[in-house]
Subunit: 597 residues, 2 copies
């Protein structure tokens, strides 16, 4: 295996041979995915950086890697300072940096299959102001020098049957066709992998933790569709499931297919579709309608079958968590449990369920100070024992065939300090403030975010992440368009009003760097609420996740009577929902963990 | 006086003679002002509409008037349905309507001194899609047919001395020059009237309730400025105050002066400067920097002298309110007090203060069901008596030479119902939730808005206005860039993070159509807050307004111990601050009104 310095040198040689002075390396795939397959891990191959978000720019004499605050330390451990300068986003951006560093007259390459059109526009403008040029490449130059690059996954598609999906794929296409009608459009391009999986009621195994398959789709106004996916991945069952309304093509035929839209009106999502798709349609002479992917909102609004599936998955998953927490209580005080051992144990318990297909994400198993690292991923190098007097934070989830779960619990190992209990109780108060909120239709998650923070603000504290993200139905554990987050970090599309049927996480936290982390996360369902004398149509939340919240960390006197009632009611429900799934000492443990305070 | 039908016909004749097929009539002036002088009341002259916001379009065969939800009823009373169709914003807009109704090939006129550049761009696009054209006019065609149009005010400018302004005008210009330096600009255009008043430490009398003078200004990077204002309005005192650094020109010389900026970089605010200013700079060959007016933020951040002035004004104003509320308590039960009589009484009490220059706005004096009309303005026609068993809402303020006030109180006439007391207590809880909020630096007002609504949401209720607006220092009673409002209604610039020194209103309410209105409004100052163990720099609010909150409307059991403590502490402070300004029975009344509950 060549060194990273060798790889960088090889890329520079390759660029030179293509008459390019530089190249931009993002961490995404042709579908603007958050998690990507190993074949698309170009940033990691080139630089050694293993974080989940970042990008790099290579120039003849300089190279820079761009990461956000979560990875400030990690990038310095994984990426050589000899070859790379470290840049922080959002303080700077690739475009800003190029503006300052690109040689005058330079030709900087980019792969149009890995960037949005908006990014290309901004980077072009930045380079133009420098007298330099942004140039699309044909084949990605990294792929030419990455000899042992993994092939794209060949995993088969599987059918997501109606008894989990709750709505047939043909009916979903009819809805999209109606949407096209409304917008006077002939066709819609779907390129987000979870949108395609949802629209066709199929799931895949191409991306770790997200059950999607690499594909593109075009839905036409007559309700038929063209699905572009590697032939070898489609078995007879899927073929039959897709039926006559769906024409199958190889994934590589997609770009060519776009050339057939001369004078047609095609809806494309500027946030989810890459620049190359726009380029191809422009070239074809199509009229582009820049609209949000028509699957995004319906996918977020879970139907009754999806909700029932989620509830079944949660009952199963809650029992796993309870057994795990019982195990921690028994084993951790003996001093031999460490982060990796604990997350392995939890994975094992989850895998006892035949409905489990995957974890929803790499478990965040953080002991003591590692719990304060919000996106911590334990490794042999960082692995810590769960020591007495510390807190242990476990954020995990399962991809069950009927629902995706995501839960965080924080537990004390031995006796917690007063400060830990104070902080935990504040986080709990914020969690309850969201769980019990009722609000008029039209309210956005951004309007609820501060409810979760106020008990921390009162003590001069806060947490540096959003309060909630949407969750898919046996799909992506992070999905939009709804979220609960401060206005400041709201992305376009982040402001979608909450609607009944949306599932969203409720996960305030508190992190004391170098000491401990606290987070309490349940998933909640947006539901209609009726109040005597109401003058508005109101919404509220129904909690979906059932597992004990650690009573040893709660300062009872800090809770209002209403908060206390919420907690005791919640624990009674936990016992009712998951108790029947537990036996023997697990059941006894749950009973004491759920006793009223 | 001609009829409105005659005026409309005359305008159509005038347009015909100018080869125009239509004309757009907004309600603003050349400074995009919220309140405008009588010379600029073209919409009212043409249509009869007396509301504070609206616009109209005249076509050969049709005419439409556009108002928002506040004026749905009023527009039908004041504007003839024979000649005008009623349109609701934001459901539709002038541009949308033109898109549907403009004759193909039509030339629709607009006055470029009365619209932003963005509006012109959108309207142009809308008309282009219709095959029609938007055409700037030279002189406004309404002015040509409005024979008895009032002249622009000739009122003199007055100096706002440093002992009220707290910072010299030369120093303010130096700050703007530094800002220009930072942005590589040669000059900044100021066209917002309150920005000019603040920057030059002058006040005017050209607009009712807002002490500003019609003027334009250009501040240059050397710290000198050009001020464009009618010569007759500038006396020797103001001339001397302005000094050598400010060149005086007639207001009408402004457009010509813009022609001198060939190849210069000029900062202009796209939200506050009209299209004509951009057109003139474009024509001159200037490079335009579209940036927010550099006065907006410093004006919002009150200095120590301005804060002390505001506090002095509040003490004075609070005593006025207390005397007024005492008078209401004595007189209303006799059955002879009506809305106009009450607001006259209040104005009379305010005018006893020699520091008063004007009211901050037309008092909202709403008895019973009129209190439920959020922007109610009483008239002989709508005037109601304050009847037993109803609520009376009074929203008012004074323009004192040292500060602008704005306060709302709601009082019961006779015995209030349980529902009234429940609603009032919920509004009070919301008010206290804002007043007591502490939050990290960087927090925006939009993040605090829901605190004010939650107690109402809990009962399925809400109010259809923002929670708080910025307030000037002897300037506009509504100023940006901060506000407390839902994300949904956030304008660009409405998202400015709160900073110490900002003054903002805290005014949740509840309105039961046809029955009563409730609002509790105090002004608050954003201040630094220190908390033991804080990990963030924190901010909070210090209440500036002191007047009793009616104890007869409070359900004690609905208040938490903290809320109760806030209320009793507030009332103790009211007594301390304004008690010394009261004597005899007023003082005795205040003591019982401020007694702890």
């Amino acid at each position: 295996m060549s060194s990273y310095a060798d790889r960088l040198a090889a890329l520079r040689e390759q660029l030179k041979s293509e008459k390019l002075d530089g190249f931009v390396v993002p961490l995404t795939d042709e579908h603007m995915s958050e998690y990507v397959g190993s074949y698309a891990q170009r940033l990691q191959w080139l630089t050694g950086f293993k974080g989940s978000a970042g990008s790099a720019v290579v120039l003849p004499e300089q190279a820079a890697i761009f990461v956000d605050g979560r990875y400030t330390l990690q990038v310095r451990q994984q990426v050589s300072a000899d070859d790379w300068s470290y840049q922080s986003v959002p303080e700077t951006s690739v475009a800003d940096w190029l503006k300052d560093h690109a040689p005058k007259g330079a030709r900087i390459g980019y792969d149009p299959w890995l960037h949005t059109r908006d990014w290309v526009k901004k980077a072009k403008e930045a380079l133009a102001s420098r007298g330099a040029e942004l140039v699309p490449v044909g084949e990605n130059p990294i792929d030419k020098i990455w000899i042992d690059r993994p092939e794209a996954s060949k995993a088969k598609l599987v059918v997501q049957p109606d008894n989990y999906a709750g709505k047939g794929a043909a009916e979903k296409r009819t809805d999209i066709a109606e949407w096209l009608e409304k917008h006077d459009a002939d066709a819609a391009v779907l390129s987000a992998l979870d949108s395609i999986a949802w629209a066709f009621n199929v799931r895949g195994q191409d991306v770790t933790h997200t059950p999607v398959a690499l594909a593109y789709a075009i839905v036409n106004k007559d309700g038929t569709a063209d699905l572009f996916v590697a032939d070898e991945k489609v078995g007879p069952d899927v073929r039959q499931h897709l039926g006559n309304g769906v024409r199958l093509h190889d994934r590589y035929a997609f770009e060519g297919a776009l050339s057939g839209f001369k004078d047609k009106t095609v809806a494309v999502d500027p946030e989810r579709a890459v620049s190359a798709i726009f380029d191809a349609l422009d070239k074809a002479g199509a009229k582009i309608l820049p609209l949000r992917d028509p699957v995004v909102l319906p996918k977020a609004l879970k139907n009754k079958v999806e909700i029932a599936g989620q509830q079944a998955a949660q009952t199963r998953d809650g029992a796993v968590i309870a057994r795990f927490l019982h195990w921690i209580d028994e084993e951790a005080p003996k001093g031999e449990v460490d982060e990796l051992g604990a997350s392995d144990k939890l994975e094992g318990l989850r895998r006892e369920n035949p409905e489990l297909r995957d974890l929803s994400f790499d478990s965040i198993s953080g002991a003591g100070p590692n719990g304060a690292i919000v996106h911590y991923k334990s490794s042999e190098k960082t692995n810590r024992k769960l020591e007495t007097g510390t807190l242990y934070l476990i954020d995990s989830g399962g991809q069950y065939v009927d629902g995706t779960t995501d839960i965080t619990r924080t537990v004390p190992i031995g006796e917690p300090t007063d400060e830990m209990r104070d902080r935990f109780t504040r986080v709990l108060k914020g969690h309850i403030a969201v769980a019990t909120a009722v609000f008029p239709k039209g309210t956005r998650g951004t309007q609820l975010d501060s409810f979760a923070r106020r008990p921390l603000w009162d003590a001069g504290l806060d947490y540096a992440h959003g309060t909630g993200h949407g969750v898919g139905s046996f799909l992506a554990v992070h999905e939009g368009p709804q979220r609960i987050a401060p206005v400041t970090s709201s992305q376009s599309g982040g402001d979608e009003p909450l609607q009944a049927g949306m599932i969203i996480s409720n996960e305030p936290g508190y992190y004391k760097t170098g000491e401990y982390g606290i987070r309490i996360e349940n998933l909640v369902l947006v539901v209609d609420v009726h109040i005597d004398g109401e003058e508005k149509e109101m919404l509220g939340f129904e909690t979906l996740t059932f597992a004990p919240i650690d009573r040893r960390l709660i300062v009872k006197d800090m809770l209002s009577p209403k908060e206390l009632a919420w907690l005791n009611t919640y624990h009674r429900q936990v016992l009712e929902k998951i108790g029947p799934n537990l036996t023997g000492s697990d059941r006894a443990w749950l009973e004491q963990a759920c006793a009223p305070i």
